[in-house]
């Protein structure tokens, strides 16, 4: 049993780690893809992709995921060839790199679903050849190394001592820069051991815009135990003045290895001075431990060349570890549950203190208890907020995946698509991100497939040939809005109406009376489409109706606006988090339900006398506007006959642009509730977002207001009427 769960844990860790690699790989690839279109991709980034695959290979062979390590191995060799200049990024190679990421995702999915890390269900169905079979790669490991680039031999220009410690990749980059006639400098900069990480990053940031850092190594000579001298090998792409400007205020000794056109004569031994006070560590900050550490770090650097690299790697790895901690979302859910339970206890304490206050002899104690529990409240709220914050991840996690897919799809249909992303740092609950990817993907797919016209058509109507899809995320109050907007042909309302009538959703007469917005919303009905035939990308059985269902399941709404010839915009509105929400507790027919507070605009008292009728529908006039009423008892299938009882309550629910008055018996209070999902066995009821434990051992259902509103307006039944009168 325990062995099993351990394996499970290892598997989860593997999946999480692999997933992270996939995300950063794809981010870098997208950057590279962009860069290739305009020129040279950043060699650093190419190297990072190479390293990513390398790590993934190591990771998957550690866990014995053979198909993955094989795939990673192939990609690693390909990237190695590219970063060493033996191959260049062609659209074809880029395609295959993106495809490989998809394949990895597939493998991870299979492992995740089967729960077996050794799952063998995966087959690479692509026709792609492995490097061994491919004629133009892999075969000769030393291909080109000396032939293609031999006309400049770094050995003739640069000390063997320097070359010796370069990796193959660094040497390759050096050679490229030499060929381009760039000046090469070696800079020695002293760093305080205390803050070397930040300082080094700072220097790198200053140098990157003006040149390429070939490598940096801890220097073997140092005379200050608190300082570590680092030699930076820089290929300067800009002028000497730029270099001086970039290093202003940094104490840097520069020696020229290969002079450029404007290298000053004296530069072979230049010193860009440091300001006298800054950068030098004060002696007072030094402790015995520091110097011990320093000498420990330094001695191997001096003694053995081979260790210099190790040292460098250590500097790198130390930094990445300190950045973040990976946490299983299940653990956070558990913490959230505990906070939920604490909430229940808090409510009980509040109740006790209220009861105590009514007893005169306990008054003092009661006041004390009340004060203490107020403090507890505040801390609890803080803790709740903290946990929620941890669950939040930037939507970029999803957007990265989407841009990858967009690229693939646009190539698939032969349309040039420019995906413009904004608000990628908007934070949303991890769970929402996971569940939202597919619906958003589908909307984008539709935009590319049916929205954006082909190049010829676009030219004819005077639009730029490449289509634009804008993916935007932002927060608005307690909601996250995600917009997908394209500059395509727009949705033809006529075709939508036709399809809706053909599918029997409404009569021709009814169709004529619909507003523009109502017409567009018809696309969310199953089977309603504007395209005659489905193709490979869209129309594979997943329609806009599924998009809507999925979004509704997360208590979100999706709305569509479209203008013929101009474009289409989908707006998805989601709650920021699903884990814990403020809710109103209400009673309907002696049952307690929770209604998410963010869906209720206001609460009023109502009785039968306040009700008007419009065509048999019960309505209420709220500040001069007619509000349709839904009696919740009738809606839930337990109608009580007669007029609405005196001092009933009315909740004005609003979602998107729709408003509905929910008639309930009593308003019991307000409380933060932890929503727990209902089982699959209750899939048939769509009206509940889940259940919550209010502390009386009995669960209360959380009403999904969006679903109720939707059902109310969609249904032919009339829940405003007592059942007896409705035919």
């Amino acid at each position: 049993m325990s062995k099993n769960s351990q394996g499970n844990k290892a598997m989860k860790e593997f999946l999480a780690e692999a997933q992270e690699f996939v995300e950063s790989l794809s981010r870098n690839l997208i950057e590279i893809d962009k860069a290739v279109k305009t020129g040279e991709p950043d060699p650093d980034m190419v190297n990072e992709v190479f390293r990513g695959w390398h790590t993934l290979k190591g990771l998957s062979s550690t866990f014995g995921v053979e198909p993955l390590s094989l795939l990673a191995h192939n990609e690693e060799s390909l990237l190695d060839d590219i970063r060493l200049g033996r191959k260049v990024f062609t659209p074809h190679i880029l395609d295959s790199l993106f495809e490989s990421i998809e394949e990895v995702t597939k493998i991870l999915d299979i492992i995740n679903e089967s729960g077996d890390i050794k799952a063998t269900g995966y087959r690479d169905n692509r026709t792609k050849t492995t490097p061994e079979q491919s004629p133009d790669s892999g075969g000769a490991p030393d291909y080109g190394k000396d032939d293609a680039e031999s006309f400049i031999d770094p050995k003739s220009l640069i000390d063997a001592e320097v070359l010796e410690v370069l990796t193959e990749f660094e040497e390759h980059r050096l050679r490229i820069n030499l060929q381009q006639g760039q000046a090469i400098y070696k800079m020695r900069i002293g760093f305080s051991l205390m803050s070397i990480d930040q300082e080094l990053e700072d220097i790198k940031g200053r140098l990157r815009p003006i040149g390429e850092i070939i490598t940096y190594l801890p220097s073997s000579e140092s005379n200050d135990p608190d300082m570590l001298d680092i030699d930076i090998l820089l290929a300067l792409h800009q002028s000497w003045e730029d270099l001086e400007a970039a290093l202003e205020g940094v104490g840097a000794g520069i020696s020229t290895l290969v002079p450029g056109r404007d290298t000053p004569k004296a530069a072979s031994d230049t010193m860009i001075p440091a300001p006298p006070t800054a950068e030098q560590p004060s002696d007072s900050s030094m402790t015995g431990i520091d110097s011990a550490v320093a000498s420990e770090i330094e001695s191997p650097v001096i003694s053995e060349r081979g260790l210099v690299k190790k040292q460098k790697e250590q500097l790198l790895s130390l930094r990445s570890v300190s950045q973040s901690v990976r946490v299983d979302i299940g653990k956070l859910d558990h913490l959230m549950n505990v906070v939920g339970e604490l909430n229940i206890i808090r409510n009980a304490i509040t109740k006790i203190s209220e009861e105590m206050r009514s007893l005169s002899e306990q008054r003092e104690l009661a006041i004390e208890l009340h004060r203490v529990s107020r403090g507890f409240d505040r801390r609890l709220a803080e803790m709740q907020e903290g946990i929620l914050e941890v669950r939040m991840v930037p939507v970029s996690q999803m957007f990265d995946r989407l841009s990858r897919m967009t690229r693939k799809m646009s190539r698939g249909v032969g349309k040039e698509i420019n995906l413009v992303i904004s608000g990628a740092d908007t934070e949303v609950d991890k769970l929402i991100i996971e569940e939202l990817s597919d619906p958003v993907m589908h909307i984008i797919r539709n935009a590319i497939d049916h929205g954006i016209e082909d190049a010829a058509e676009r030219r004819a109507v005077g639009k730029p040939e490449f289509g634009t899809v804008a993916l935007t995320a932002y927060q608005k109050g307690n909601h996250i809005l995600i917009e997908v907007e394209d500059d395509g042909a727009g949705i033809d309302g006529e075709k939508i109406l036709e399809a809706a009538v053909d599918n029997g959703y409404l009569s021709k007469e009814a169709a004529a009376s619909l507003s523009e917005r109502e017409v567009l919303n018809l696309i969310f009905l199953p089977g309603v489409t504007t395209t005659v035939k489905a193709n490979e990308l869209s129309g594979r059985g997943v329609g806009m109706d599924v998009v809507k269902t999925n979004i509704s399941a997360l208590s979100g709404v999706v709305e569509v606006q479209s203008e013929l010839g101009i474009g289409t915009k989908f707006t998805i509105t989601m709650p920021v988090t699903l884990a814990i929400i403020p809710a109103l507790l209400v009673s309907v027919d002696e049952n307690t339900f929770a209604v998410p507070l963010n869906t209720v605009a206001e609460a009023l008292t109502i009785s039968g006398a306040d009700v008007n009728k419009v065509m048999g529908l019960e309505t209420f006039t709220l500040r001069g506007q007619t509000l349709p009423l839904c009696r919740m008892d009738g809606f839930f299938g337990r109608p009580r006959h007669g007029a609405i009882p005196k001092s009933s309550r009315l909740l004005v629910a609003s979602l998107g642009q729709r408003r509905l008055g929910l008639v309930i018996d009593e308003l019991l209070g307000q409380q933060d509730v932890v929503i727990k999902p209902l089982g699959y066995s209750l899939d048939e009821t769509r009206f509940f977002a889940g259940a919550t434990d209010l502390g009386d051992q009995k669960l209360s259902l959380v009403i999904d207001t969006a679903a109720v509103i939707e059902e109310f307006f969609a249904s032919n039944e009339d829940f405003t009427q007592p059942a007896a009168q409705a035919e």
């Binding site: 209750l682 048939e684 009206f687 259940a691 259902l701």
Partner: protein, 171 residues
């Protein structure tokens, strides 16, 4: 939880027979069922299927669902759907008895609660005492009768394929 009984024999049972829909076997190669009562009949299910037995907790009504779904209950902080096994099996509903218990079973990755009128005992019978699929009347429920056992002269237990019945109801 004080009101729960975890079936003691579970750990001892031979787990090699997990796939059997009919019954688990113990060390002596006997078939092991959990007996429970609906109305005046005793039924048996594969003991392995039953994860836990609890006293009926307060039930929350869920509107607009099939009649055999009684509602939801809270089991260790999780929301569990409670099913009226009588209605599920096509029996009449009658008064709730004090002896009523909830069997917790896993179906399609979901834990489901089944309300039964009473638990009798764990029934062990040798393989040869198992009368397989008796020829009964055609009917949706009789299809799910996989066999009959007679632990003693007075007792007859109908063994049903509970998982299949639940899956069918949830379809």
């Amino acid at each position: 939880m004080s009101n729960s009984i975890v079936i003691p024999d579970m750990a001892k049972l031979n787990t090699g027979n997990r796939n059997s829909v009919i019954a688990g076997k113990d060390d002596d190669m006997k078939l092991v069922f959990l007996g429970f009562v609906l109305g005046d009949e005793e039924f048996g299910v594969d003991l392995h299927l039953v994860k836990q037995i609890v006293m009926p907790p307060p039930v929350t009504w869920v509107p607009r669902v099939q009649p055999h779904i009684l509602g939801v209950i809270s089991i260790r902080g999780n929301v569990v759907t409670l099913i009226d096994t009588r209605l599920l099996m096509g029996f009449d509903v009658s008064d709730r008895r004090n002896s009523a218990r909830v069997l917790l079973v896993d179906v399609r990755d979901e834990r489901i609660g089944l309300l039964v009128d009473a638990i009798t005992q764990v029934r062990r019978v040798p393989v040869q005492a198992f009368e397989e699929s008796p020829d009964l009347d055609e009917g949706s429920m009789t299809d799910h009768v996989v066999g009959i056992i007679r632990p003693d002269k007075q007792t007859q237990v109908t063994i049903i394929d509970l998982k299949e019945i639940l899956l069918e109801a949830m379809r």
